[in-house]
C-alpha cells in the first residue's frame, strides 16, 4: 500500500481521534455476535502417536507458525487423528491433556548433577555430563567385568551396573539402547514390561 506523507498524518490523526473518543466511552460496538476466532486456521499439522498407553491413538499436533525460518514453532493444540483406525479421532482424558505434558513446568531443560551428600542440583554441560558418566561407567566396568565364571566358561558379563529402559520411548531409541547396553555386557536390564 502506498501512503503519502499527507495521508499518513491523516491516518494518524484519525486513529488518535478515534481512540480518544473510545476513551470517552463511545467506542463503537464490536462485531455483535461473532464466535471466537478458530484458532487452528493457519497452524502447522503434524501426525503423532499418543505416548501414554498402548492403544497408541493417532494424534494431530497443531503448532504455531507456518515453518517459516523466523517463526519459532510451538505446539498449541493436540487432538485425535480422525483417520486413525483405532481411536478415530477420540482421546481419553490423558491424551486430551497432552498439551500440558508437552509444556509441563516439570520438563527438564538442561543436564544437572547432584554431588554426593549435596542438597541441590547444579547445572552442567552435555559434554561434561557425557564425559563424567563415561568415566564412571568405564571405571566400574573395568573393575567388575566378569570375563569367565568359576567354571572357567567365558561369560563376559558386567552386573554391577544396570539399565532401565523406557517403554514409552520409540523403537529406534529402544533398539539403539539395547545394542549399546548389550555391547557393554550388562545383564541387569529391564523395561516397564517387567512391572
Amino acid at each position: 500500500m502506498h501512503v503519502t506523507r499527507r495521508q499518513f498524518f491523516k491516518l494518524c490523526g484519525a486513529s488518535l481521534g478515534g481512540s480518544s473518543i473510545a476513551l470517552l466511552g463511545f467506542s463503537p460496538a464490536q462485531a455483535l455476535a461473532d464466535v471466537r476466532t478458530f484458532k487452528l486456521e493457519r497452524t502447522t499439522e503434524t501426525r503423532n502417536t499418543c505416548p501414554y498407553c498402548s492403544v497408541s491413538c493417532g494424534l494431530i499436533m497443531y503448532s504455531l507458525g507456518d515453518q517459516a525460518k523466523n517463526a519459532k514453532s510451538s505446539i498449541i493444540h493436540i487432538e485425535g487423528d480422525p483417520d486413525h483406525p483405532v481411536n478415530r479421532g477420540t482421546l481419553c482424558p490423558k491424551g486430551a491433556g497432552l498439551l500440558d505434558f508437552v509444556h509441563s513446568d516439570s520438563r527438564l531443560q538442561y543436564p544437572e548433577y547432584r554431588a554426593p551428600g549435596a542438597k541441590s542440583w547444579q547445572r552442567l554441560s552435555w559434554d561434561e555430563a557425557f564425559s563424567r558418566i563415561a568415566r564412571l561407567v568405564k571405571d566400574d566396568r573395568d573393575k567388575n567385568f566378569v570375563a569367565k565364571n568359576a567354571a572357567g566358561a567365558t561369560v563376559n558379563r558386567w552386573i554391577t551396573t544396570g539399565f532401565l529402559a523406557a517403554s514409552a520411548s520409540s523403537n529406534e531409541s529402544g533398539y539403539l539402547t539395547h545394542k549399546v547396553v548389550r555391547s557393554l555386557g550388562i545383564l541387569a536390564f529391564d523395561n516397564q514390561a517387567r512391572v
Binding site: 498402548s54 499436533m61 483405532v86 505434558f101 509441563s104 558379563r157 517403554s167 514409552a168 550388562i186 514390561a193
Partner: protein, 806 residues
C-alpha cells in the same frame, strides 16, 4: 494381543477380567461399546471393584483379588462337565489328545518334581510320551487316561462352583451365570474375547492366570478368530515394542534369548532354540532361529561377526540367572551394584516396597536419570517431608539428570498392543537443551568408546566393534535405526527357486524375515520387525484406512508384526478343511491352491489342509497347549495359589501349599510380609482413568481432573472404622504407610471367603512428590517385594493392609 483393538468389535461376548479397559484404555474400550451397539454383544466384568468398566457391563460379578485361576479353573470345569466346547477345534488344534509322561502327577498342591530347598521344580516329568518315530504319541479319541484332556479334566474337577465361590467370594449363582454366558460362545459362529491387563500380570501366579484364560479360549475355539483371542491391553505406548526388541535381562530382539552360562557352544545354543517338529508335517517356525540370530549379530557387530568367531557369540553376556528388577534391586540393596541408568523410568514410584527401593538407590555410587520430566527417582535423595523422609547429606550417590525429548519432539515408531508399528513425526523443538534419547545414548557411548580405544580396558571388543555407521555418529537418526532393525542384504540374495535370479542386491532393505540367512549374508536388528522399512520405504508410516472386509483388518495402515499379520493364529479361524468356522468372520480361507483373505495368513501360504499342518506354527507340535510341558516353571496346568499376603491365611484347595511354591522370595522380603492377623484387609493397587502412571501429575489438566491421593473403601468397612467420605485415612502394610482421603463407596462390597468376611481396600497409584497435582505418598510404599514365578512381575495387586482414621 492375539487380535487387535478394532477387532474387539467382532466379538459376541467380551470378558474384562484382570483389567479395567474402560478406565485404563478408554479409546480401546470404544470397540467394546461398538460390539455392544452393532453386534448386540454382551459385556461381562469380573473385578474386586465395581469399576468404570463394570459401569458399562451387562453383567458384573465380584471376585477376591488374586483368585482368578480358581474362577477360570471353575469355568474350565463347567465347560468340560457341560460339554460346552468346540470339539473339532480342540481335537485338531490343541494338544488335548497328546499323551503325557506317566510319571507326571499332581498331589496336595504340588506337581511332581518339587524341591522345597530350591523352591523349584525338576520339570523332567512334565513331558509328552514320544513314539519310536521321535514324534509325540497322540490319542485322537481322547480316551486314554493319560491324554492331556483327561488329565485336565481331572485337574479341574476340584474346581466346582462351591469351591470357586468359597475361594473367590463370588456368589455361586453369579459364577454360574458367567459360566453360562461364556459357554454359549463354544458355538463356532460365536466368539468371546478376553481383555486383561495388569490385574492378571501383577500376581505371583500372573503367568498362569493368563494361561488359564488361554485354555478357556482354546476349549471354546476362540483363538485365531476375528472377535476372539486373549488380549493383553498392555501398559505404555511402546511396552510391546520394547519387549519385542528384547530390552529385558534375558532377551535379545525378536524373542530370542541370551545364552545361559552353561551354553558355551554356539551350535548347541542354536540347536536347542531351533525347535524340531514334535509331530510330522509341522512348520515349527523357530527352526529358523539361526537365521534370526546370525542376522542380529551381523547388524550389531558387522564385519567383526564372522563364521569363524561364531558370529561374535562371545560378545554376548551369558546369564547365571535372570537379572529382573526385583533381583537387581535386591543386589543393589545388598550394596552389590554401583551404577544404574533410568531412561524414562521412575523405579522409586513404580517398584514395590518404596523403602527398599530408596534404600537401594542410596547405596549406588552413581545414578543416571534420562527423562523429559523431573521424576521422583531423580530426587530420591531429597527430603520431601513425610513423602520422602531422607537425609540428603547421608546419601552419597552421584546423580546425573539428563533432559530428553518427549513424543512431540521426535520422529520414530511405537508398537501398540495390536502389534502395529506406527510412525510419528516431530512437531516442535525440545525445550531448553533437551536431547533425543538416541543422542544421549550415543553421547555416552561415543565417549566410552573413545576411552576404550585410548586406554583399553576390560574386554573392549564388543564396544569398539559395535556397528555405528550413522551419518552423524553423535545423533543417530531414527530413520537410520529403523532401517537397521528392518535389516538389509549384505550380499546379493537370490531366489531359492531360481538361484540365477537376484531378489535383492547387496545393501538393499529386506522385504521380510523370510529373506534372512544364517550365513552372514543378511543383517537384521529385529527379525519380527522386518518388513517395517523396505525398499518401498517406511511401511510403518502408511495411512491407508481401507477395510474391505468390514472386520477392521486395515492392512494398509502402518505395519503389524509379524509380516503385517493382524490376527495371530488366523489359520485357526478355519476348520481343518480350510473353511471359516463362521462365514461372517472370513478373514482367511483356503481357495484350493493357497490361503487367501483379508488378513495375512499366519501360516505357510501354500500348505493345503490335507497336509495337516497345525495352525500354531511357532510350536513344534503345531497345536496349542493345554498342558504346557516345562515351558512355565510353576506347573504344566495352572493351579490356584493364594497371594503371598492372603486374607484367609490358607489355601482351601491344599492348606499345606498356600502360595505359589515356585515363586522366588528373598529372605528380607519374606520377613516383611504381613499376616491377616495384623493386616486384615485385602488391598489392591490400580490406575485411574484421569491419570497415566506418574506422568500426568505433571500435566495441569489431569491434575485438575484428579488432584489428590485417595483410597477407596466399601461402605461396610467405613462404617466399622467410623470413616466417612472425605476423611483422612491411614493405610498401613507391614512395609510402610500412607495417608490419603477416603472415598467411601457402594462399589466395593465385602466378600465371604472360606467362611470369613473379606474387605477390599483400593489404592490408586498416581501420586508422588513431584508435579502439579497435590503431593502424596508413593503407593508402592505398601506393596510386597515378590514377583510372578515365571516373569517376576511384582504382586502389586494382592497384599494386606490395615486402615484407620488418620
Amino acid at each position: 494381543m492375539t487380535n487387535h483393538w478394532v477387532d474387539i468389535k467382532n466379538a459376541n461376548l467380551v470378558l474384562i477380567m484382570g483389567g479395567n479397559a474402560a478406565e485404563a484404555h478408554p479409546c480401546g474400550f470404544k470397540w467394546v461399546t461398538e460390539a455392544k451397539a452393532h453386534k448386540g454383544a454382551q459385556l461381562i466384568v469380573i473385578d474386586p471393584r465395581f469399576n468404570r468398566s463394570a459401569a458399562m457391563a451387562d453383567y458384573y460379578a465380584p471376585i477376591r483379588t488374586g483368585t482368578d485361576i480358581a474362577f477360570l479353573g471353575g469355568v474350565i470345569h463347567y465347560l468340560l462337565s457341560h460339554d460346552k466346547i468346540n470339539h473339532e477345534y480342540v481335537k485338531a488344534y490343541t494338544n488335548a489328545g497328546y499323551l503325557v509322561n506317566s510319571a507326571y502327577g499332581f498331589e496336595d498342591g504340588l506337581f511332581t518334581g518339587y524341591e522345597p530347598a530350591k523352591r523349584a521344580y525338576d520339570k523332567s516329568t512334565w513331558s509328552y510320551v514320544k513314539g519310536p518315530d521321535g514324534y509325540v504319541e497322540v490319542d485322537a479319541t481322547m480316551t486314554d487316561p493319560r491324554c492331556v484332556m483327561n488329565l485336565m479334566k481331572a485337574h479341574y474337577a476340584r474346581y466346582t462352583p462351591e469351591v470357586v465361590s468359597n475361594i473367590c467370594g463370588t456368589p455361586q449363582d453369579q459364577f454360574l451365570h458367567v459360566c453360562e454366558m461364556i459357554a454359549e460362545t463354544s458355538a463356532p459362529t460365536k466368539t468371546l474375547t478376553i481383555m486383561y491387563a495388569l490385574g492378571w500380570t501383577q500376581h505371583t501366579v500372573g503367568t498362569q492366570m493368563i494361561r488359564t484364560a488361554a485354555m478357556v479360549q482354546l476349549l471354546l475355539g476362540n483363538i485365531g478368530m476375528a472377535g476372539g483371542g486373549v488380549n493383553a491391553l498392555r501398559g505404555h505406548s511402546n511396552i510391546q515394542g520394547l519387549t519385542d526388541l528384547g530390552l529385558m535381562s534375558n532377551l535379545l530382539p525378536g524373542y530370542m534369548t541370551l545364552p545361559m552360562e552353561q551354553e558355551t557352544d554356539f551350535q548347541k545354543y542354536l540347536e536347542v532354540r531351533a525347535l524340531k517338529p514334535l509331530r510330522p508335517g509341522q512348520l515349527s517356525y523357530w527352526q529358523n532361529y539361526p537365521k534370526f540370530h546370525v542376522s542380529l549379530m551381523k547388524a550389531w557387530y558387522g564385519d567383526a561377526a564372522t563364521k569363524d568367531n561364531d558370529y561374535a557369540f562371545d560378545y554376548l553376556p551369558k546369564l547365571d540367572k535372570i537379572y529382573d528388577i526385583l533381583q537387581v534391586f535386591e543386589l543393589m540393596h545388598q550394596g552389590k551394584m554401583n551404577g544404574y541408568f533410568c531412561q524414562g523410568f521412575n523405579p522409586l514410584a513404580s517398584f514395590p516396597n518404596k523403602a527398599k527401593i530408596g534404600g537401594a538407590l542410596a547405596k549406588l555410587k552413581y545414578l543416571v536419570v534420562i527423562d523429559p520430566l523431573a521424576t521422583e527417582t531423580s530426587e530420591f535423595w531429597q527430603n520431601f517431608g513425610p513423602y520422602n523422609d531422607v537425609d540428603p547429606t547421608k546419601i552419597q550417590t552421584e546423580v546425573f539428570r539428563l533432559p530428553s525429548t518427549c513424543f512431540a519432539e521426535e520422529n520414530g515408531s511405537l508398537v501398540n498392543s495390536s502389534r502395529w508399528l506406527q510412525w510419528h513425526y516431530q512437531g516442535a523443538d525440545p525445550p531448553g537443551e533437551a536431547k533425543a534419547d538416541p543422542e544421549i545414548v550415543a553421547g555416552i557411548f561415543l565417549k566410552l568408546r573413545e576411552l576404550y580405544r585410548k586406554e583399553g580396558g576390560a574386554f573392549p571388543d564388543p564396544i569398539v566393534n559395535l556397528t555405528w555407521n550413522y551419518a552423524i555418529p553423535a545423533a543417530p537418526h531414527p530413520e537410520e535405526l529403523a532401517r537397521e532393525y528392518n535389516g538389509r542384504a549384505l550380499a546379493d540374495l537370490t531366489d531359492p527357486a531360481d538361484p540365477t535370479k537376484v531378489v535383492l542386491k547387496a545393501g538393499q532393505q529386506l522385504d521380510s524375515f523370510a529373506q534372512l540367512k544364517d550365513d552372514g549374508s543378511t543383517a537384521c536388528g529385529c527379525w519380527i520387525f522386518s518388513g517395517a522399512w523396505t525398499e518401498k520405504g517406511n511401511i510403518m508410516a502408511r495411512r491407508d484406512t481401507a477395510d474391505p472386509s468390514g472386520l477392521g483388518e486395515t492392512l494398509g495402515w502402518a505395519f503389524a508384526w509379524p509380516a503385517n499379520r493382524r490376527i495371530l493364529y488366523n489359520r485357526a479361524s478355519c476348520d481343518p478343511a480350510g473353511k471359516p468356522w463362521d462365514p461372517r468372520r472370513d478373514i482367511i480361507h483356503w481357495n484350493g491352491s493357497k490361503w487367501v483373505g483379508f488378513d495375512v495368513p499366519d501360516f505357510k501360504p501354500d500348505s493345503a489342509p490335507a497336509q495337516d499342518m497345525g495352525p500354531f506354527i511357532m510350536q513344534p507340535e503345531g497345536v496349542a497347549r493345554f498342558f504346557t510341558l516345562d515351558k512355565v516353571i510353576d506347573g504344566p496346568f495352572p493351579e490356584h495359589y493364594e497371594p503371598f499376603e492372603t486374607p484367609i491365611s490358607t489355601n482351601p484347595l491344599h492348606p499345606k501349599v498356600v502360595s505359589n511354591p515356585a515363586a522366588r522370595v528373598f529372605k528380607d522380603d519374606l520377613e516383611a510380609f504381613g499376616t491377616a492377623k495384623d493386616f486384615p484387609y485385602a488391598a489392591t493397587t490400580y490406575r485411574l482413568t484421569e491419570h497415566f502412571h506418574f506422568w500426568t501429575k505433571h500435566a495441569k489438566i489431569n491434575a485438575i481432573l484428579q488432584p489428590e491421593q485417595f483410597v477407596e473403601i466399601g461402605e461396610e468397612l467405613a462404617k466399622e472404622k467410623g470413616l466417612k467420605a472425605g476423611d483422612q485415612v491411614m493405610v498401613r502394610s507391614n512395609r510402610g504407610f500412607l495417608k490419603a482421603v477416603a472415598v467411601v463407596t457402594k462399589r466395593i462390597k465385602p466378600l465371604t471367603v472360606n467362611g470369613k468376611t473379606v474387605h477390599t481396600v483400593g489404592v490408586p497409584i498416581h501420586w508422588g512428590f513431584k508435579g502439579v497435582a497435590k503431593n502424596g505418598y508413593i503407593t508402592n510404599t505398601l506393596t510386597p517385594y515378590v514377583g510372578d514365578a515365571n516373569v517376576q512381575t511384582p504382586e502389586f495387586k494382592s497384599f494386606l493392609v490395615d486402615i484407620e482414621k488418620a
